[in-house]
Assembly symmetry: D2
Homo-oligomer: 395 residues x 4
């Protein structure tokens, strides 16, 4: 048993299984992947890594797994520690590419757990990689602890991200949430005494989105990075699967050592010469259904670039996925009935819709192309005449 | 210039005007009035007073008043310091009575400022008591700093109440709010960069309501106290206006030294033998419009008591005012237009409605009468058959 | 099992024994005794009570008592909850008087535990009042948890006092201290891994002394209060034992309702017309051994008053007890040997001596007598000519 | 004017000069140098960088520079922002090497400021690189703000390092320190009201040393890194001056891409296969003056290695510099006299000596050589027979 110091949870106790898993390259690699990708360009303190986040998730999971038998406890604690090994360099910057080319989300990690040092450790402890992989996807009922609307992943990262960025959201009442979460008929259910704590968690997440997670500067840096990596996959034979072995450092080196577009992007990121917003506005600004363009975004970018007369790589169209309706709704136990949380709370019910307020469509391009790309993008999307660009005053 | 230490704002600088006002009995009395009345029965740390809150509000007001001329600055800073002098003992416990009998809300303090030591200080500084009184009511445009939807009063008390109760809500980004609040066409307007901070403040307030401000235990103690004081006004010649001179201590002594019902209530409060909930449920449980009973609540209590066969004083019906639509909506500046905040934010738009989720109607009575009073109350209000009593699991 | 919210320890679980003890008048009275007496005249936030402090001490004791058997656990937890019931109104303001007239320190509470509701609860749980009283005095070896150089009392109050006053000391690493404290040969011993945490605790306490606990304003208010109460005992037949039943409120009422000197003091405390410093300086300013005057302080006050030509009650001489050498030194386990902490740490070794730097001798009197009383006091004590009065710049 | 968010100081305002300096490669490089080198191997949260620390120092300097004229203000603020540009990769890990080979401490940055983008910015603002370099060394009297016993560097890093490691020391009362620091006769002097705050700062630093800064794990990793770099300088032609252009990433790449010893060290650091402690004990364990070995440490390592029969590179002898007597003592103004702080405070007076308690001499080697290298080292140093190895229990 070893105890380590964590700024969020004070002390985290690690048992032998945890220590063995931590010592594998799969987990050690997370030390070199920043939790928030390029957010440190906006929030200089945001240098924390997926490694410490994973320890935090493990720590929270321990309290919640007391309700299941010992074998499942071990499985779930391993799942907590391993839940992020499917992330590529700069976390979300490479997520889309990995999904596009490997057809696997960052939580589909079964393949990674079945080989190498992690597989050995799991086997020594008679734990099944595929069960753990299912827990990580939230496909089992106790796996909801790790992956559902109110899970230990979220409980950790909201507080942690607030601690390192310094933003004034993200106070979560872990003790009460954990005290009120329990299993009922194979489902994770929240006692009614935890309703306000859950509302607070979901609102924190809601507020973190525009302020941190979708801040335009990190969004621009991320999409520049994504484009550069995509370019290398398409044109320079970079194997998409390799991204899962790289960390932030080796990936940036890869970009720097390449030629042409990716090298230019690397230079721009290093020198903070980021692309700028040629168009940046909300859903309501579009006459048409903007989302239909998501599937053929490359063609859209090319067309706008052509109309504007710039190289196709230097136009980035960013249409974030529409806030999806979460399938695995949290349930609250009210008067003996399991009630979906959005029925139990008008506040939660509104969050999904409210998220649209903060969703922004962006077209990014180097400063010198800003005007002509902006014009071409507005024409292409037939942006409403009278809508001025929404301006987020930065403090 | 003197500087004092405050747990919320670190250091608060006090100039000569502030020091003179603080030294008056009107402000010193606030040292002995707890900010949260009887909440310390639930949250043992909640012993903070209106005095320190007033210093906090003054401190925040200083940053916001830099936009107006010096004379107005002084007026507004005085208003900030004096905004709570109209509170009676245990703050909200006596507020209804003062309003009922003096026809004045706790923010109608003109009368108090026109005499005594405060009047002298104001006159020495050539400040007008009636202007200050108007600022406190939020009736002037710069007074909106002190009394409106997003004001320094709220900015202070949310954080302060969270600090002393220990609840995990109430993180407010003061710096950003103050940075984004400005006057435009004689109205207090929030820059769009402060939208998330404002949403966070309003949600914090929303979450504090059921958790702290309307916790049933403090609500019960408060209404016991209100009833005892009402009894003394009606039957023992207590002058309602006198409440504004009493503090928590002298008021409790008054109760203890009385006879009959008020003395019994004092004993119960001292020994924590509080009334219990005979009925406690949400608006949706009532077939009829429950609010119509608010005006003749005494009659309702009497009838339920009679039906239950208990003394009329020992039935308390608590129908809190319905969350009212706030007239003085905060405005956000979006693309050069002043937009009401509930138009700019779907989250804020929902808060008013969502508050109803947490609103509870209560009938309180001593433990031994609980069953029969509960039955009588349910019959009287024709509570829906199938609604079980909503049970807030306390942690 | 009930759980309550505490700003310092988040949540505190209370078992049936604790709940029963809390419901006794002896413990409830602590709700109305401020932890820091009159410190709220300096730090407006310092309104916290011995009640919440006692809950905090109980909470910390639970972790430490896991090492002893269940019966002792219960005894020690009861001792933790009850350790402060021997305090009179305003804590330290009446402590000297109670000691002088009852010959009992505030931790000699055996008599209080043997009668009334507390005795009943203890008897129901087969717990011995006298054992508990011994634990509270630290006379048993597991009682060192509660009363020794590094105990749960101190671990709680340092953090709590810092939280409510807002001063920037008092960060204590509870987890590590509790992790490293253990029993060895019937002694409480600290593992070497807890040395820095212990140093930090002892330095925090050291820094809190001049800043909070011995701030001259609270010291003046306290000694005014002590003098008024002493006067009532000597001249108006107030029974000293009665102080242990009074709380802050009933005691102040007693003063207010008296006549002559105590009534004047009550008025001065209510209106913040405090005595001022006629002399205020460190030990090094005196040619002679200033401490010899402690035993006949009344005579000293009278002589100074006579020389100055003022009424004897209006001169207060404050010679605080010299920082005593603590008998029950904490021990640290180094290389298998129990080492006194001042041998293990040069920092701790110096603290005792360093405390003298901050020790102040004061002579207090109303503002209008300041000059003549100052002169008389300097003459009486033969204060060195060249020593100017040490001036603490207040921020 | 731009405002950025910082977890320590909330918001930091940056004026045009600061923004221009930040945009230079010299400052941007600090984004990629971790403040605490390899401490994140012990404290997983310690990933913060010299970049954000520099912003924090700049922020604190602004408050303190209000006392000097505008030109000096600009110089000092530039100095604050630039004070750490002389650090090499992993901060202290390469510091010794840079000093040894370039004969320049990390605060001797004059050469760096006289060329390139920084020089251009300074020249545009009519600021002198050499004046700024002197401020950074603390050689001018206003430069004491930046480099002396109580300076803004220390005020920032103590709090920042505590925030990211999570240790419970490092609460600093910035406001009071800044309020009490002023210039008197061309010296930085602290008002007596800041004495406790200064004591607290110096004790925090004292406690951070064994807990964080000299934790054996980071000390081992650092010295491995120093040895590898030294090897490359001696044997592979690495230019020492180049270290000042590298960041953590490029330096690690350099090691990884080398051969032999440095490549092995890189692998060990990446896989956390660190050297272990063959000897680890305090000064008092040595019969002879251990410090005399500092000058010819290479020879000592070789001799121990030879005696133990291992390759010379694989023995690291770590004799940290003896806590030196600080020349530039802080002064406190007491009764109108400037008094050295160690005369004004017995606590401070003891700190220098107390530091020796925590000083550890270490001999580090791979796990498999531990025993034989330990034996050889003990013989070489003639370690007292009866001294068992001091064992820091890790939590």
């Amino acid at each position: 048993m070893k105890v380590i110091r964590d700024p969020i949870h004070d002390y985290i106790e690690l048992d032998e299984l945890a220590l063995s898993l931590i010592d594998t390259p799969l987990v050690q690699r997370l030390r070199r992947i920043r939790q928030l990708g390029f957010s440190n360009l906006v929030y200089p303190g945001a240098n924390h890594t997926r490694f410490e986040h994973s320890l935090g998730v493990y720590h929270l999971a321990i309290s919640l797994t007391k309700q299941v038998d010992e074998h499942q406890q071990n499985e779930l604690q391993a799942a907590a520690l391993l839940h992020d090994v499917g992330h590529g360099p700069f976390s979300h910057a490479t997520e889309n590419l990995i999904e596009r080319y490997t057809k696997k989300g960052h939580d589909e990690v079964g393949g990674l757990l079945k080989k190498g040092a992690v597989a050995d450790v799991l086997s020594e402890h008679s734990l099944s990689p595929s069960s753990i992989a299912k827990h990580i996807k939230g496909e089992t009922y106790p796996g909801q602890i790790i992956n559902s609307e109110i899970d230990v992943d979220r409980m950790d990262y909201l507080v942690r991200d607030a601690h390192y960025t310094g933003v004034a959201f993200g106070l979560i009442d872990h003790v009460r949430l954990i005290h009120e979460l329990r299993f009922n008929e194979n489902k994770l259910v929240l006692g009614v005494g935890g309703l306000q704590a859950a509302e607070s968690l979901l609102v924190s997440r809601f507020l973190m989105h525009p302020t941190v997670y979708f801040h335009h500067v990190s969004r621009i840096a991320e999409s520049m990075c994504t484009h550069a990596a995509g370019y290398m996959i398409e044109n320079e034979g970079l194997k998409p699967g390799l991204l899962l072995r790289m960390d932030d450092v080796t990936f940036m080196m890869e970009l720097r050592n390449s030629k042409g577009f990716p090298a230019d992007i690397a230079k721009r990121l290093d020198e903070r010469k980021l692309f700028k917003r040629a168009l940046y506005t909300g859903f309501e600004s579009f006459e048409t259904d903007i989302l239909k363009h998501r599937k053929k975004i490359k063609r859209v970018e090319n067309e706008i670039a052509e109309n504007a007369g710039v190289e196709p790589e230097y136009v980035i169209v960013d249409i974030p996925e529409k806030p999806r309706i979460i399938e695995m709704k949290a349930r609250v136990m009210i008067n003996g009935k399991m009630t979906p949380i959005d029925k139990a709370s008008s506040l939660v019910a509104t969050l999904e819709k409210a998220q649209l307020d903060n969703w922004r469509i962006g077209v990014f391009t180097p400063a010198e192309y800003r005007e002509k790309v902006g014009k071409a993008a507005r024409e292409f999307f037939e942006v409403k005449k009278d809508v001025k660009q929404f301006k987020l005053t930065e403090i």
